[in-house]
């Protein structure tokens, strides 16, 4: 079944790439790997009959946000994380907490999987619902976005404006007019 194969391939890429993102000391690699992960996710969105989301994922995440990250990494000429520079003055800052954190993350996976198993009814194929063409069309999306969610949409525009102003103010050097 090619479809299943593609699914496993894409989710494999997403998971592995994500895992490598947090396994990297070099932020540059992390950014590139996360782009790969997002690309794989975009593929999954296409599989879920959401091509517009997939394209938006590429444009916004890969094309804009990650370029911004990359830009900052380059601008700061960000150093690699130093491995041995553990601050040992505080018990909560020992390396143990990092290991503890990953243990917790593992626990979270177990819990979520458990919750999924308990929930049941998840074996139904995801595309069993209404026709994919309908919900995939940009027209339908736009109609809902600008009617039902119009207030949220407008609020989002304000959010973006605020974020923009905030970013400019924060990143400006003191004394610059």
């Amino acid at each position: 079944m090619p479809e299943t194969l593609v699914f496993y391939l894409l989710s494999g890429i997403a998971i592995v790439a994500s895992a490598l993102v947090i396994g990297q000391r070099n932020p540059m690699y992390s950014v590139l790997l996360i782009i790969a992960s997002f690309g794989a996710l975009a593929g999954l969105y296409i599989q879920l009959d959401a091509p517009f989301v997939a394209v938006a994922q590429i444009i916004i995440y890969a094309g804009a946000i990650m370029v911004l990250f990359l830009f900052v990494v380059m601008l700061l000429n960000a150093p690699q994380e130093d491995a041995a520079d553990w601050d040992r003055t505080h018990p909560l800052r020992r390396p143990a907490i990092a290991r503890f954190g990953s243990l917790l993350a593992l626990l979270l996976v177990v819990q979520l999987a458990w919750a999924l198993i308990r929930a049941g009814g998840l074996d139904a194929p995801v595309a069993a619902g209404a026709g994919g063409a309908e919900i995939g069309s940009v027209r339908a999306l736009g109609r809902v976005l600008f009617t039902e969610y119009v207030f949220a949409f407008e609020a989002t525009s304000v959010l973006i404006l605020v974020a923009m102003v905030g970013a400019v103010v924060l990143a400006r050097r003191e004394g610059e007019s």
């Binding site: 959401a50 990953s102 050097r173």
Partner: protein
């Protein structure tokens, strides 16, 4: 066809990776990236459920999440730049003066 549960499981794993990243990395930029991973994991859940239920609402919410993520990245990176100017470091443990 792929069951819904598979998507949700992938999403759960991605989310956990994101949380683990927040703890394991000592680089503000990577931590922000980990948060992006978590957001994307949630996005996947939304799209999968939306497909399952045959509505577009899931996708709409994803758009909003993306917008928020963009805003967050902009402000977060601005803060990172400001912090780096002060301390020449991106280690979150270097910025612990806000306590007591």
């Amino acid at each position: 066809m792929i069951p819904l549960g598979h998507y949700l499981f992938v999403s759960a794993v991605l989310f956990a990776i994101g949380t683990a990243g927040v703890f394991m990395r000592r680089n503000l930029i990577t931590i922000l990236l980990s948060i992006e991973i978590m957001l994307n994991a949630v996005n996947l859940t939304f799209v999968a459920f939306g497909r399952q239920l045959g509505t577009v609402d899931g996708q709409i919410i994803v758009f909003f999440v993306m917008t928020v993520a963009a805003a967050e990245a902009a402000v977060g990176l601005a803060i990172v730049i400001a912090l780096f100017r002060h301390r020449e470091s991106l280690n979150p443990d270097a910025f612990t003066s806000l306590k007591w």
